[in-house]
């Protein structure tokens, strides 16, 4: 493994792991878009019947939705982490519960708190992260990979 950089050391382990997993899923979704669009493109060039193309176009469209959801969740998480980090409400907490790899606690507040939380929850579901709410406090628990493994 490569040595962690100064930034890595300052960033809680849970955040780094969430970003890594989200990145992986995002790349998968983008691949889903790319390969299905490629099928549409190449078959259209050959004037293939619509039936041979439509399902791939639909799949690409679905993957756009998935990628959008993942990207929104990731953006919401990172902006919340940055905000919590600057106002001092972000902290790593000792892992509790069986199988938890790492945990963080942060405060999510403001006008968009509800939608931000929803987006984070959607992301969390895909990447094996548990979300626990206690008022404005949110605890994110990184579970071992493959626990939920929900693929769209």
């Amino acid at each position: 493994m490569t040595e962690p950089t100064a930034t890595d050391k300052q960033t809680p382990k849970a955040v780094r792991e969430i970003v890594r997993r989200a990145g992986h899923e995002l790349r998968n979704a983008l691949s889903g878009i790319a390969v299905n669009v490629e099928v549409v493109r190449s078959r259209s060039e050959r004037n293939a019947p619509a039936a041979d193309v439509t399902s791939f176009a639909d799949r690409a469209r679905l993957q756009v939705a998935v990628a959008t959801e993942l990207a929104n969740g990731l953006i919401s998480l990172i902006s919340s982490v940055l905000t919590a980090s600057s106002d001092g409400t972000l902290r790593s907490i000792p892992t509790s519960g069986a199988g938890a790899e790492s945990q963080i606690e942060l405060m999510i507040y403001g006008d968009r708190a509800a939608s931000t939380l929803t987006e984070i929850e959607r992301l969390a579901k895909v990447i094996d992260v548990e979300v626990e709410l206690s008022g404005q406090r949110v605890i994110l628990t990184v579970l071992p990979e493959g626990k939920s493994h929900s693929k769209v």
């Binding site: 490569t2 992986h24 899923e25 995002l26 983008l30 889903g32 390969v35 299905n36 099928v39």
Partner: protein
Amino acid sequence: MKHPKVLIADDDRSITEGLSAILRDEGYDVAVAIDGQKALDQLVAEPYGVVLADLKMPKVDGLALLKELQQRAIPTECIIVTGQATVDSAVQAMREGAYDYVEKPLTADKLNRLKALIPKALEKFNVQLKNRELSSKLEGLTHYGELTGQSEEMRAVYQIIEAVAPSNASVLIFGESGTGKELVARALHSKSERAKGPFFALNCAALPKDILENELFGHEKGAFTGSVNEKPGAFEMADGGTIFLDEVAEMPPDIQVKLLRAIESRSIRRLGGKKEIEVDIRILAATNRDLQKALSDNDLREDLYYRLAVVELFLPPLRERLGDVKLLANEFLVRFAQQNGKGVTGFDDAAWEWILSYTWPGNVRELKNAVERAVIMAGGGEKIRASDIMPRHLQRTGEFATAISVPPGATLADTRRQLVLRAFASTNGDYARTATIVGMNPADVRAEIASLLNGRSDTSTGVNGAARATKPAEAPAGKAVKAPAKPAPVKSKTKKR
């Protein structure tokens, strides 16, 4: 036409279905496994040329799949396609035997790269499959064409012949005298598409220059005094087949120039002739010379060497494939007993001791001649004794009359070995008597003979003082290699080829 089979191992349906469609459109027969375990099961059940595997999969992940493929020697080429792209995972995947590594997202560029990788991986898979089939076919084989041997060294030779024969490549066969270079050439010919054409063998050392030139290229009527008829040469007679030039390094330099020209232009001109005659031939050549010396002494033209040695094949001397000595001796015994109507039943123990401990500097030819002589000399219904099989010059004449020769540079160990061997021969393989003659204890005599038997002799001189023909150094038996771009400095005897 059968479509090459590709397995996609990924748990992401949006990718597997799109990728399957792309690859099917490219003409592949595609199957999908939604986790590593299912991929493994499918690979065990039927062969897939290429597997496109995600690193992160349920049950068995991509790296574990690679490990299993390696451990269980399942033939396939694995391309890792992953979104978990880190240098570590890439390095680890390659270390575990992945053919290549493609990072997600699979953008148009990466898809194109993947499409280009698959045929290459399939080619590697097909070559490996062919090699496996060949190895299993050759395993346990005692005969190949007219060649006899089941040692690892000879199996390597068979494998090269099998691989090279179908091509039109020139092959330069290295080997000491008596190792069977012409038999290798015949096997190359008979396994090639030219098998129905003629095989023409010519020994370049056996003929004077003018005759050799005439034999190779033929002559027109009146080309020289006494040439009353036209005569086609070996090149014309071997048209559509194979010409084998034995002892090619002994060929006079000006004939080498003509030979080079004939190889390059695929045409010849008869002596005294004006027209070019096109010939379709494959050239095989052999030498027992130290090639480095032959090149440095200008005995063999470097440009001709490159033309002849597209593939080089090293035929091991008999002492380096002791495992074949018994097989060969028994085979010769049966053959010559039948030919001569002799009821010889085999070799006695002392004869075997001798046969297996002698280094056979004349190689298979010497063994063959020794067995033939022994069979002819043997009485009916008896076993061949050590004294029957020993070369005459090693046998006792009077009381140990034959002197041993100690060449300059020979060590004490060389000399002792010669003494022991000579005494052992003179006593018909009697350890106790040998020990008395040479003044050693029988255990040491036994150890000395055993060391010869195990080929631990570190001398470059044969037990009879016969110099070992120098094989190009460090080249393992049967190793075929492409001719180098440029020969190593010719002074070195340990040139690596």
